[in-house]
């Protein structure tokens, strides 16, 4: 099987970075460590910024980012391995009757100009804004592609991961946030943006425009265990994990 490559390997592999990646990384690590208990794989989140920063410093072997490396980051000799396509979508609480938003409305909301759901055809409730932290790749993509680089209002609540974004919105009927499409499930609802519902298919086909790739990054050419791990993510079994996590697998 795809795990054969790990048969007589051992050692520790440290992974950190993008929170969108965590479900894939966990599943892969679990499969590998179960097959060969001599291998230790540690996984930390932190956001894309952490991924780029720590792999550049050599603190981790694989640093994940949810955005392409900045030139300044790439300058440390990092090599990127895109392995999935993912969309970034606005999410609302399922109790919120609003099902349609335009890009201009989202920009207005995130600029703080629209502050009540009534203005958008919803209940009379304050809009509670949620955004991601500064290190987030998801935020970078969201601001660049959806907000057209308009700034996010300072009063927006800040959460530190895709998962936290989902749970915060899931608990607050007045909330609006954004997350990786892979994270969308029953607990939150993604309204149609300019008429397009952000689904995996829509992202794959390019119908839904706000998409990005998920990357693994290494410092220099990966060797040994690192190489095997990356290959495993690209393997058929790895691609299955990517799909299960809600993303569209990319080939090497």
């Amino acid at each position: 099987s795809d795990l054969d490559a790990f048969q007589d390997q051992s050692g520790t592999l440290n992974i950190a970075g993008g929170t969108a990646h965590i479900p894939v990384m966990k599943q892969a690590a679990r499969a590998i460590m179960t097959a060969n208990p001599n291998i230790r794989i540690t996984i930390a989140g932190g956001g894309s910024g952490v991924g780029a920063q720590q792999v550049a410093k050599g603190l981790v072997t694989i640093g994940n980012t949810g955005r392409a490396l900045k030139p300044s980051e790439a300058a440390h000799g990092l090599i990127s391995f895109p392995f999935a396509i993912d969309g970034v979508a606005v999410i609302l609480n399922p109790d919120n009757p609003v099902t349609q938003l335009t890009q201009q409305q989202v920009i207005g909301i995130y600029a703080g100009r629209i502050d009540n759901w009534q203005a958008l055809g919803g209940d009379d409730r304050r809009i509670n804004l949620f955004t991601r932290d500064e290190a987030s790749g998801t935020r970078a993509v969201f601001v660049k592609k959806l907000l057209s680089k308009q700034p996010v209002a300072t009063f927006a609540n800040v959460v530190a991961s895709n998962g936290a974004m989902k749970t915060s919105v899931a608990r607050d009927p007045g909330a609006i946030g954004y997350s990786s499409v892979g994270y969308i499930d029953d607990s939150v609802r993604a309204p149609a943006l300019d008429g397009v519902v952000p689904t995996n298919e829509a992202c794959a086909s390019g119908e839904y425009p706000i998409v990005r790739k998920l990357y693994m990054n290494t410092k220099g050419e990966p060797q040994g265990l690192t190489r095997s791990f990356i290959d495993f993510v690209y393997s058929a079994q790895g691609a299955e994990y990517v799909r299960q996590s809600g993303y569209i697998p990319l080939l090497q």
Binding site: G46, K70, T154, F155, A160
Partner: protein
């Protein structure tokens, strides 16, 4: 009263070690922070944090830290005094033991446990009862912080007040003092030092706590006057931007925040010491 020769060499070498450690901490953080202050203080010391606009002002976080800690302290100080007094005044031993046990238990309650409980009880409560925000707010963080710092303050107060109380009780009773009077007029005035150090300790912990503000205060980098608004503290800011790209303006604000925090805590400590010195006969 205690003024005599240094006792064994071990203790003095340990003291030196600790002194060195503290120096190392300051040097390390100062080393990284000073260049930042020297080169980009205009961007740093402003009231706006909007990375998309290139605004990296950390003063909203400074205000956030100060506000949340002061509020927590204002709640916790009288409560700590009340709890300590209760432990000294109550006549039923089992009740005193119970309260003391609960307070000890509180000291052992991990911050994150308060955090998770408040996340699912206090935040929704604030959101639905005021309808003026998401519930992630200054108030939520301050309330939980006050619970967090209570046991430290109580045990600090109690360790000073209890021996004094026990020592004075017989003599005072023989003069017709009630226990409450002994406490109010004999013990409390002599525990000013303990009270201020308890408050200092509490404030330090409230300012220094990362988790509760990060989980409950909303982390919005804004200046606000409403206790129901979301704010970001310096500690939470460090926790959030430590993840950003090294060398960027955001990453640099990390050390600036660190130095401000360090400076704040040091100044606090020093003023308190000065205050106490002045107040003593």
């Amino acid at each position: 009263m205690m003024s005599h020769r240094p006792y064994p060499r071990l203790t003095s070498s340990m003291a030196t070690l600790v002194l060195l450690l503290i120096a190392a901490l300051f040097v390390a953080i100062g080393w990284f922070a000073l260049p930042v202050f020297l080169h980009s203080s205009q961007t740093l010391l402003t009231f706006q944090w909007q990375p998309e606009l290139g605004c990296y002002g950390i003063l909203p976080m400074v205000a956030g830290s100060a506000l949340v800690a002061l509020m927590a302290l204002m709640l916790a100080c009288p409560l700590a005094l009340g709890l300590t007094a209760f432990g000294l005044l109550v006549r039923r031993p089992w009740l005193a033991t119970l309260v003391r046990t609960v307070v000890r238990l509180m000291a052992g309650v991990p911050t994150v446990v308060y955090g998770i409980a408040a996340l699912f009880l206090l935040v929704p409560l604030l959101r639905e009862s005021f309808r003026a925000g998401s519930g992630y707010s200054l108030l939520a963080a301050a309330l939980m912080l006050s619970l967090l710092i209570l046991p430290v303050m109580v045990s600090m107060l109690d360790s000073q007040m209890r021996p004094l109380m026990l020592q004075l009780r017989i003599g005072a009773r023989s003069m017709g003092f009630t226990d409450a009077q002994t406490l109010t007029y004999l013990v409390l005035p002599r525990c000013r030092r303990a009270m201020i150090s308890a408050a200092l300790l509490g404030f330090g912990r409230a300012v220094g706590d990362t988790l509760l503000p990060m989980m409950l205060a909303g982390n919005a980098p804004q200046l606000t006057g409403s206790v129901l608004d979301s704010i970001r503290t310096l500690t939470a800011h460090i926790g959030l931007v430590v993840a950003t790209e090294q060398g960027s303006a955001m990453y640099n604000s990390l050390f600036a925040s660190g130095l401000i925090l360090l400076g704040l805590s040091a100044v606090l400590t020093l003023t308190t010491r000065a205050l106490l010195k002045g107040g003593q006969p």
